[in-house]
């Protein structure tokens, strides 16, 4: 990382960078239940939030924590919870509620190995499909990832901004390696950080409809306590927020929950590339494994193998266009990940089977060292 960007340089763990990012984004409410390897996020915020007049609550369990941040978010607070695999499973139902009620909030999942309690202290990327499909029902989902402490800081801020802009829960998926890696983070001046706030109602309380259909597909939820009274429910509802059985209203609502993310995909999706322009072998890697891939691509290039890296920083919506563009240039794609092919499946779909997609899945709690990926690429060549 270069030190020439303006800002204050500090050494911190990914989890601490997440807490710092949350504060910078304006988060003043955290509810959670401690779980390795995410606990340092709660630990740091338990000190930082009260100093800023914010609230930190350790709830009785993960479900209650998710409920608490939804409640706080409805009062206008930027709200966060942080957890790991088992806790993420528990939060799915209320995460779906937040999607349905269109409540902006941020859920950080520092991934460890599963299923069940699995490997509490060891890294994995086994929750990437759960982030998309873990809660029942059709809806658009935004999930970001990060491969370093610096990116964790920046992506936490972005998660809040996207949540506020699109009125939806946003998930940040990092893993044990990123969460527990201590490295330099450049904290910019507050004035250099872009902060997004949700829309405010432009009508008085008598003429206000919380879920009014608008061209931008995004509702305007007035913070509770500001004189606006409306109903919030997990049932299918109409523009007033009250439940409906009207088939037209239901069809419009559920289509809108998906469309409101789909139509903004180009604004939401961001990818990094490394030596992809003339690549013959494409590597698709995300989170901490992207660092393995950077090292492996450089080693391959030294050996004369034209490898290149496509690294999504947003996992959902999936970067279909970028994957298809890569598939049309390369001879094969390799997908290293700390699961048994969850994103390799998406890459195959997105590439429309135009090139072979090779999985490199590791699920023993160890990271993938660059040499293991280099060997896989050699094999494919």
């Amino acid at each position: 990382m270069s030190n020439d960007r303006p800002g204050k340089v500090r050494m911190m763990q990914g989890n601490q960078a997440c807490a710092e990012g949350a504060i910078a984004a304006g988060c003043r409410f955290f509810a959670g239940y401690p779980i390795t390897p995410s606990s340092e996020i709660a630990e740091n915020l338990s000190v930082m939030l009260p100093r800023l007049g914010g609230k930190f609550i350790q709830m009785e369990d993960e479900m209650a924590a998710m409920g608490a941040i939804i409640g706080a978010a409805l009062t206008g607070q930027k709200s966060l919870t942080a957890t790991s695999g088992p806790g993420f499973s528990l939060k799915q139902e209320t995460k779906g509620y937040a999607s349905m009620a269109e409540v902006p909030c941020v859920i950080v999942n520092v991934m460890r190995g599963g299923p069940s309690t699995g490997m509490p202290t060891l890294p994995a990327q086994m929750d990437v499909q759960q982030a998309r499909w873990g809660a029942h029902g059709d809806r658009g989902v935004i999930a970001l990832t990060a491969k370093s402490a610096q990116e964790t800081y920046e992506q936490t801020i972005r998660a809040f901004n996207l949540a506020e802009r699109y009125m939806t829960p946003v998930i940040l998926l990092i893993d044990e390696i990123t969460g527990h890696t201590t490295e330099k983070v450049i904290i910019p001046d507050a004035s250099d950080i872009e902060i997004v706030h949700r829309k405010k109602p432009d009508k008085d309380p008598e003429n206000y409809l919380p879920y009014r259909f608008t061209d931008d597909c995004i509702p305007t939820l007035a913070p509770f306590g500001t004189g606006y009274r409306y109903n919030v429910t997990g049932l299918c509802h109409n523009e007033t927020g009250f439940p409906t059985n009207d088939s037209n209203e239901i069809q419009c609502l559920i289509e809108r929950l998906t469309r409101k993310i789909e139509i903004y995909e180009d604004d939401i999706i961001r990818n990094n590339e490394l030596m992809l322009e003339d690549a013959e072998i494409g590597v698709f890697a995300y989170g901490s494994v992207a660092r393995t891939a950077q090292a492996a691509v450089r080693i391959c290039r030294e050996e004369g193998i034209k490898a290149g890296l496509l690294e999504p920083t947003v996992l959902w919506p999936f970067p279909t266009k970028a994957v298809l563009a890569m598939a049309q240039k390369v001879r094969a794609i390799v997908v290293p990940e700390l699961n048994l092919g969850q994103m390799a499946r998406e890459v195959s779909l997105a590439s429309q089977c135009s090139v072979p997609v090779h999985k490199l899945g590791r699920v023993d709690g160890s990271p993938i060292p660059p040499q293991q990926l280099v060997e896989k690429i050699r094999e494919v060549v």
Partner: protein, 182 residues
């Protein structure tokens, strides 16, 4: 400098993760290199083989975990047996001579000293074993300056323990000098 990979290994609870953070901060904040510190430990709060790793380099560090080790510190036999496989042929191994009775053979340089006993007997507190170890390894490795190590230790240790930690570092540094002279 080129990539320099360090692994600090022992048993959970010996303070090796803190030692790793101090080494990384000395290199990155006070010496102006880049450094990354990672860790690996089991689900238990105490015991079990535990390790902290530090990669020091000028410029971007892609893969954050240690790969080919330039230096391995082992405070227990279990961790030495488990984590020594990646040591370079010309690498450095530093072990606690009373805990590691059977270090693996190889062409690397082996330095052994009763690190835990130095902390217990000369400083009077086993809890500073990690700082004694930092004194020894920073003297022997020579990749981080003495002044930066002292600053990094003082910035991390609890208030009121500065003196005892500096004493532990001095004792380690002195031991390192003796080992190099042998």
């Amino acid at each position: 400098m080129d990539r320099y990979d360090v692994r600090l290994s022992g048993s959970g609870g010996q303070g090796l993760i803190l030692a790793g953070k101090i080494l990384a901060e000395a290199a990155a904040i006070y010496d102006g290199h880049n450094a990354v510190q990672t860790q690996s430990y089991g689900p238990e709060a105490r015991g079990g083989a535990s390790k902290a790793e530090v990669v020091i380099k000028d410029g971007e560090i892609d893969y954050p975990k240690a790969m080919d080790l330039d230096l391995l510190l082992s405070l227990t036999q279990e961790s030495c047996t488990k984590y020594s496989g990646d040591l370079k042929e010309d690498g450095i191994m530093i072990v606690d001579s009373e805990m590691v009775k059977d270090p693996p053979g190889g062409s690397f340089k082996l330095y052994s000293a009763p690190i835990t006993s130095i902390a217990a007997d000369k400083i009077g507190k086993v809890v500073v074993t990690n700082i004694v170890a930092l004194g020894i390894l920073s003297k022997i490795a020579g990749v981080v300056t003495e002044e930066s190590m002292r600053k990094a230790i003082l910035a991390r240790v609890p208030k009121g323990t500065e003196e005892i930690n500096m004493k532990a570092f001095d004792e380690g540094w002195k031991t390192g000098e003796e080992l190099l002279a042998e």
